[in-house]
């Protein structure tokens, strides 16, 4: 497969990249790892005039800030994230999520920032034009979505794995733009609109990820379901973080984020509320899993039907909560 023609620009720093973005206008794409961008360009889905390659920018090593926060460079490859001892200590589920993305080669190339900015996917859109429906869908400026019968809005699914883990941990992202830097929680990063999935303008770049301190009484786990396990986008993923009381049986606070079911990762507010302030008995965990399945409203995607995904979500949520609880106990 051949890439279409474009101008290749290689800045040496983030500041230079921000300047270049403003200079070259909206028909420019940033390329960090290229594992999501180049397939789409090869399929002819997008045709940017210029590609700003971020591969010439030195990658900062993970660093613990004086307040205990862990700062990760968005340009770190997923393989580096997965094997970093600091990440394993302060965000074990981020390392787990990163370890499960794509294949070994993809993890070596793809970056953490790129995984957060992944384009929402749909089996009708993400393929060569030859195999696509004749009438264009919303993503190709058409007026219908083929995913649901008589779909009146785009239902592409955000399939990133690391986003769920970061939302569950309550991480923040730093975004550099012409007006300087701004911080945003990972949860607020996603708009839920597949046509404009992330709340970052065309002139801004996601530069850093800030992870809060990981207390001793915290347990977390990451669950992912897909048919083949490797080289595949998740059918769904669940990240659970439990903050337990001193007795290690009652839950003070829970954060559950589910990815790859809708156009943005979603928090399971009902399931979290069912657990917060309560002892985590078997029944309570079962109830939380049921609530999560009821409130997720998954889109059918990549051959998985909505009822099937709801059932899977119930199972994966239950498993993830149990594992997170076990990890607090130190088992």
């Amino acid at each position: 497969m051949i890439l279409p023609k474009f101008r290749h620009i290689r800045p040496r720093s983030i500041e230079e990249a921000v300047q270049l973005l403003a200079e070259y206008g909206p028909e420019t794409r940033l390329c960090a790892g290229g594992t999501d961008l180049f397939p789409r360009m090869k399929y002819g889905l997008i045709r940017p005039e210029a590609v700003i390659s971020l591969k010439g920018i030195p990658v900062k090593t993970p660093k613990v800030a004086p307040g205990g926060e862990l700062h990760l460079d968005a340009l770190m490859s997923l393989a580096e994230v997965a094997r970093s001892p600091l990440v394993m200590k302060q965000a074990p589920i981020l390392a787990e999520a990163a370890f499960n993305v794509g294949s070994n080669q993809i993890r070596q190339m793809a970056t953490l920032g790129g995984n957060l900015c992944l384009e929402p996917r749909c089996s009708f859109y993400n393929q060569s034009h030859t195999f696509q429906f004749v009438d264009p869908c919303f993503k190709r400026n058409g007026d219908q979505c083929y995913l649901l019968p008589k779909g009146k809005k785009c239902c592409a699914v955000f399939c990133g794995d690391t986003a769920s883990a970061l939302i569950s941990l309550g991480a923040l992202v730093n975004i550099a733009g012409p007006q300087g830097n701004r911080e945003l929680s990972v949860e607020d990063l996603y708009t839920g609109d597949p046509l404009r999935p992330i709340d970052i303008s065309e002139k801004e770049i996601l530069t850093d990820i800030h992870l809060p301190v990981y207390p001793l009484s915290r347990g977390s786990s990451f669950g992912r379901f897909s048919l083949r396990g490797g080289v595949e986008f998740a059918a769904l993923n669940v990240a659970v973080t439990l903050d337990m009381g001193e007795d290690k049986t009652s839950c003070l606070k829970a954060r559950i984020a589910v990815g790859a079911v809708r156009s943005a990762p979603v928090r399971m507010i009902g399931a979290e509320a069912a657990m917060a302030g309560n002892r985590l008995s078997k029944e309570r965990i079962e109830e939380a899993a049921h609530l999560a399945a009821a409130e997720a409203h998954p889109f059918p995607h990549h051959g998985y039907t909505a009822p099937y995904l709801r059932e899977c979500l119930k199972v994966e949520t239950r498993r993830a909560i149990l594992l997170a609880k076990k990890r607090v106990d130190g088992i």
Binding site: M1, I2, R7, H8, Y43, N104, Q105, M109, G230, V231
Partner: protein, 173 residues
């Protein structure tokens, strides 16, 4: 507009003028004649275009040649020392982990990178490291066996080639 790029492939330096959209795979195959690196899907799903960039397995079909300046690239041609094959290549041959051979360069490079980092990998680690390399012939068992052999976890006499098995079967019949 073509741009100049200096590539370091298999310890040899090349200076080339390439179009910005040229991938490393196209340069390796078309300009340098290193056709051991294969193209199948072109979109990063099959792993047959795997090369080692700075010692890590990466997909040359999704890497721009312009992004590879000052990076150390190793292709399958760079593994053997003269006539002598690398231990991983030899193990693949000994175990019969090759059939049509199309996926083999990628498999061997992925395995080489794995053994560089983890000299005695478990079966799970081997599977995880090779998950991005698809093979449509062998059924993977012999490939996993070959990596185990290359890492010294299977003694050479433990591997019985298919030919001997069939001869033994014939004798017993």
């Amino acid at each position: 507009m073509k741009q100049l790029v200096e590539l370091m492939v298999n310890n040899e330096s090349y200076e080339l003028a390439v179009e910005p959209q040229t991938t490393l795979l196209e340069v390796l195959r078309n300009d340098l004649g290193l056709t051991g690196t294969k193209e199948a899907c072109g979109t990063g799903e099959c792993g047959s275009c795997t090369v080692l960039i700075d010692g890590r397995p990466m997909l040359s079909c999704l890497t721009l040649a312009l992004d590879c300046s000052q990076r150390d690239i190793v292709t399958i041609e760079g593994l053997a020392e003269g006539e002598r094959m690398s231990p991983v290549q030899q193990a693949f041959q000994d175990c019969g982990a090759i059939q049509c051979g199309f996926c083999t360069p990628g498999m061997i490079l992925s395995a080489t990178a794995l053994l560089e980092e983890t000299p005695r990998p478990t079966e799970e680690q081997i599977k995880k490291a090779l998950e991005g390399n698809l093979c449509r012939c062998t059924g993977y068992n012999k490939i996993i066996e070959a990596v185990k052999k290359a890492s010294g976890q299977i003694a050479p006499d433990q591997i019985i080639p298919d030919k001997i098995i069939s001869e033994q079967e014939q004798e017993s019949q």
